[in-house]
């Protein structure tokens, strides 16, 4: 059976020049197919620049798409498939990096910056809350009154 599948895969791959998801790759079961799409849109095509295998036209991407679908048909879970691919190709294949010691800073940095920025603003606002603007002196007050009078005169 395994050999048969292998042969089938080989046939699929060699049948035509490869392109991003092709009609003959699609699974019959729409549920499985949509899982396949969502998994493969988070896998990096290893030979392209920053493209997911779902978008890529490279032959390797096609092989991987077929592989993902085959595993889904065999009943594998999403994580199982991802783990399998990471074992084979390394973390590089995941477009969404896993949470680990290596990616701790990556995932937390935006939120730390937001919290730190928010806290700094809060502190400055607190410090400033006590401050008052200098009161107007006599000449400034006269000037202001004159301006206000002028504004009243031209009011709509």
């Amino acid at each position: 059976m395994k050999r048969l599948i292998g042969l089938f895969l080989l046939l699929l791959v060699s049948a035509s020049p490869s392109c991003a998801v092709e009609p003959d790759e699609l699974l019959k079961d729409p549920g499985l197919e949509s899982r396949a799409r969502s998994i493969s849109s988070e896998l990096r095509c290893l030979v392209c620049q920053n493209q997911s295998i779902d978008d890529s036209h490279a032959p390797l991407a096609r092989d991987l798409r077929v592989l993902v679908r085959q595993k889904l048909v065999d009943g594998a879970g999403d994580d199982e498939i991802r783990n399998f691919l990471v074992d084979r190709y390394g973390d590089f294949i995941l477009l969404k990096p896993r949470f680990s010691a290596d990616t701790l800073i990556l995932w937390f940095a935006p939120f730390i910056v937001l919290a730190f920025g928010g806290f700094s603003i809060f502190r400055v606002a607190r410090r400033r809350a006590g401050l008052k603007s200098a009161p107007l002196d006599a000449s400034e007050r006269l000037h202001l009154d004159a301006l206000l009078k002028e504004k009243d005169a031209t009011k709509l």
């Binding site: 020049p17 990096r44 935006p110």
Partner: protein
Amino acid sequence: MIVELGHFALIMAFVTAMVQTILPMWGAVARDPGLAGMARYSAFVTFALVLLAFVSLTLAYIGSDFSVANVVMNSHSTKPLMYKISGVWSNHEGSMLLWVLILTVFAALVAVRGGGMPERLLASVLSVQGAIAAAFLLFVILTSNPFLRLSDPPAEGQGLNPILEDPGLAIHPPMLYLGYVGFSVAFSFAVGALIHGRIDAVWARFVRPWTLVAWIFLTLGIAMGSYWAYYELGWGGWWFWDPVENASLMPWLLGTALLHSTVVMEKRDALKVWTILLSILTFSFSLLGTFLVRSGVITSVHSFASDPTRGIFILCILMLFIGGGLVLFAWRAPMLRQGGLFAPVSREGALVVNNLFLATSAVAVLVGTLYPLALEMLNGNKISVGAPYFNMTAVPLFIALLLFVPFGQSLAWKRGDLLGVGQRLLVAFGIAIAAMIGTFAVTRGGPVAAPLGLGLGVWLIMGSATDIFNRCYRKGISFGIAFDRAVGLPRSAWGTALAHAGMGITVIGISATVWGVETLGVIRKSEPLSVGPYTVTLEQAFKRSGQGFREDVARFTVSEGGALRGAVETSKRIHLGREMPTTEAGIVTYGLGQLYASVNEIMPDGRVSIRFYWKPLVTLIWGGALVMGIGGALSLSDRRARIAVSVKNRKSVLTKSGARV
């Protein structure tokens, strides 16, 4: 001969840029008006020389002078004129020359418009511009010289990469560079202000138009690039979170923050220190973007290592200007006087929140872009950071910020009334919620994200409408007066409203992508395929040849509910002398949506393997950006921005504005 002239002009430009750097700064510090006055003339001369160099290279391209290595590698004698010209900046050397040209254009424009500026400030601003130009001119001359001749010239050039053979190349890079480089003016102004230790609302008034110009071009440049990728790359995506895209998004985010904080400074003389820092950081991100794209460090650490001269050179420029700017900031910023006070709930307070979110999202994009590189250098582990990361970090920040925008727009300066603002926005909020629920009801069972995003877009548009409405209309006044007041509103008010509404339009376009329909199929002649509301039928598949290429074309007719709507063609194109075929997508626009066809393969038996998308409202993504750009332009034409023209005009405008209500 003309090439040697250009080469010589480039070297001379370096010399005059050095003059522009040293003498005016000396004059500004030593208070020598004669030396400070050198700033303007040297800026003009440097610009003229770089222009001469650029024109000579362009002429070499137009005349297909294949004794020049750069022309050989990027042009072909049979290219149409437009692609010969845009070929100039299709490559590293030429695009760096364009970069420097735009830098000197900005310096020359500052010199022209600087009549009303304090002489010392103008001198130091132009001096810093000169220093940046000198550094990049040296970079071009030493590591990326486009004028090198070949001793044994070939008869024909190697041609342009077919993907670049597109009107997009003619427009996209110059626009993007106008944006990137435009932020250098804000940087120079910040450094000038730090050197003088003096910064106030007048400074903000001078600097704001330049920031706005840069922002407009960057906005349009990014949108243009996005549309280009959308139709050229052939799989219908419009944003890929690619490092090169991120490199342009980061300065945009910080530039947007800068635009808003400059307003606070101009109106209320507050946020001075932060605005100065932001001016330095925004241009730093532009430089970083240039470094990322130009050094090749992102595509592969190894390609960078194999030819490190260019990368290390730009890295040195980067450290010189970013480091120098920040050191100067750390040293001088504490001496700046505190500005106007404001309550936490106020327009100023809202703009502080705006800046916090924009700056944080820029950090998220920065971290995501550089992290794989840093990690690999650190411990050799290779990871990828792709779209899912940015969708989980930067996008929530954007959404939070956008939810907040209409409030900020309606708050009063200095001390705002949140309750009052809430009441005024009630109608806008109601409409947004109604739009959301209505859409949800109509598309029941469909994805939830789309109605939510649509509601957010409507909220932004209605928030802007509310702002304009409240500025013009008050209970008891007639519509005639309200109309007069609407006409009489400062153009910057309309500009703000349009720009925010434009953002709303883009948000709607982005949300609607969730409703996109994708259909894959292998079909025979006359066989129909349904794509969303349309039915496409393969009319014929045929071969065709054009200028410099031949292609396999698949032509489809499009009908809707039995009625013929039109036709669409997509092809696999093989360019002469290139092996890799490119996919030419076929796009037809119906209403605000687009039907997007991309051929996989045309089989020998006449069957066509095809991919169709129906993308409802997709044009709003770029249409919104266009509206944002128009809003920016309107704001730029406000009399506030024109005030800086000259002392004489300023006087008359001031008296006029004094009489305004």
